[in-house]
């Protein structure tokens, strides 16, 4: 038996990811990009929101999209069909994107100065909260079919987000969901959270979202 001893380590478990995220942030700053990490449950409408957003932005601001899914290239194909370059990451068993995956994807995309890089994270409101990708802001998307207490159930993600989008408001007549209560619940956790209501499907509320994007020029 060798000698036993206690050693001090004092190292952050996600330190490596955090360092890569910081390096991503510097890379994105060189391009003056607005980088948004879009998170939601599966099926809240992230890809539809992006497709509609790209269509409305048109040529006014160059966009690129990193698509994170467990499997299939389907979402990247939908984005390309909407006219923007997209890079698909399949995480396999993984439940989130990390900073290294995003760096590789960003280097494979035709980025344009002053543009927007949307990162569509894997549909999951838990794990992506812990992984900094080097984005400027996390945007949480909820849909009205999910329950207005959802922000209280997933407080870590709400705490980490800058903006919450409440999607599918065209379905409000058919579901028991109070958008004001949902926003109030979210602000119990994050009082500075911005909240917008929209329907990517009908287009209602999309102007306010585009206006929000316009107010955020990108990394300086």
């Amino acid at each position: 038996m060798g000698k036993k001893s206690i050693i001090e380590v004092e190292a952050a478990v996600l330190g490596q990811n955090d360092r890569l995220a910081q390096s991503n942030r510097e890379f994105f700053a060189q391009w003056g990009l607005l980088v948004l990490n879009l998170v939601s449950s599966p099926g809240s409408g992230k890809t539809t929101l992006l497709v509609e957003t790209l269509g409305r932005l048109g040529q006014s601001r160059p966009c690129a999209v990193i698509e994170g899914d467990q499997e299939t290239p389907n979402d990247a194909e939908r984005i390309r069909a909407a006219g923007a370059p997209a890079f698909q990451i399949n995480t396999g068993r993984g439940c989130h994107l990390d900073a290294a995956m995003v760096r590789r994807a960003a280097q494979n995309l035709p980025l344009e100065r002053g543009g927007i890089l949307f990162i569509e994270n894997v549909g999951n409101l838990i794990c992506p909260a812990d992984f900094d990708l080097g984005e400027q802001a996390k945007v949480t998307l909820l849909s009205v079919t999910e329950g207005d207490d959802k922000p209280l159930k997933y407080p870590h993600m709400i705490a980490a987000s800058r903006l919450m989008l409440i999607n599918k408001i065209d379905l409000l007549p058919y579901v028991r969901f109070d958008p004001r209560l949902c926003a109030a619940n979210a602000r119990k956790i994050n009082p500075r959270l911005e909240v917008l209501e929209l329907s990517a499907y009908t287009g209602e509320g999309m102007d306010a979202w585009l206006e929000w994007l316009g107010r955020h020029p990108g990394f300086a």
Binding site: M1, G2, K3, K4, S5, I6, I7, E8, V9, E10, A11, A12, V13, L14, G15, Q16, N17, R93, G94, C95, H96, D98, I126, C127, A129, D130, F131, L152, P155, H156, M157, A159, R187, K188, I189, P191
Partner: protein
């Protein structure tokens, strides 16, 4: 299962530290997890056992130390400790607006090694 990624990241840090100290085995590790980290201790423990199997940390005892995170009330400025769940009114003024003061996340604090 991001606990798996976290267990792998923790093991990498442990193996690097073990190499630096010329350890032959890692017998125990103390990992601090604060309330801002979204991890489940039981899931971490299960993943940790799996990732350690077959290496120098096989059978290593995992001591998870849960620490609170400091919160500051935006209404009255009172500072207090917040546990997991993150939603709590200020104990002084019942204010709902809280600002979390940068936690340490997850930290590998120390290890017991055999040389």
């Amino acid at each position: 299962m991001h606990e798996m990624s976290i267990a792998i990241a923790a093991l990498e840090i442990m193996e690097q530290a073990a190499l630096k100290h010329s350890a032959r085995r890692i017998l125990a590790v103390w990992i601090e997890v604060d309330a801002s980290a979204c991890v489940e201790p039981e899931a971490i423990a299960a993943c940790f056992e799996v990732v350690c199997a077959g290496g120098i940390a096989q059978g290593c005892a995992l001591h998870l130390e849960q620490s609170p995170i400091r919160a500051r009330c935006l209404d009255c400025g009172h500072e207090f400790d917040l546990g997991p769940g993150l939603e709590l009114p200020c104990p002084l003024c019942a204010g709902r607006g809280l600002r979390l003061e940068g936690g340490r996340g997850m930290v590998v604090n120390r290890m017991e090694i055999e040389e």
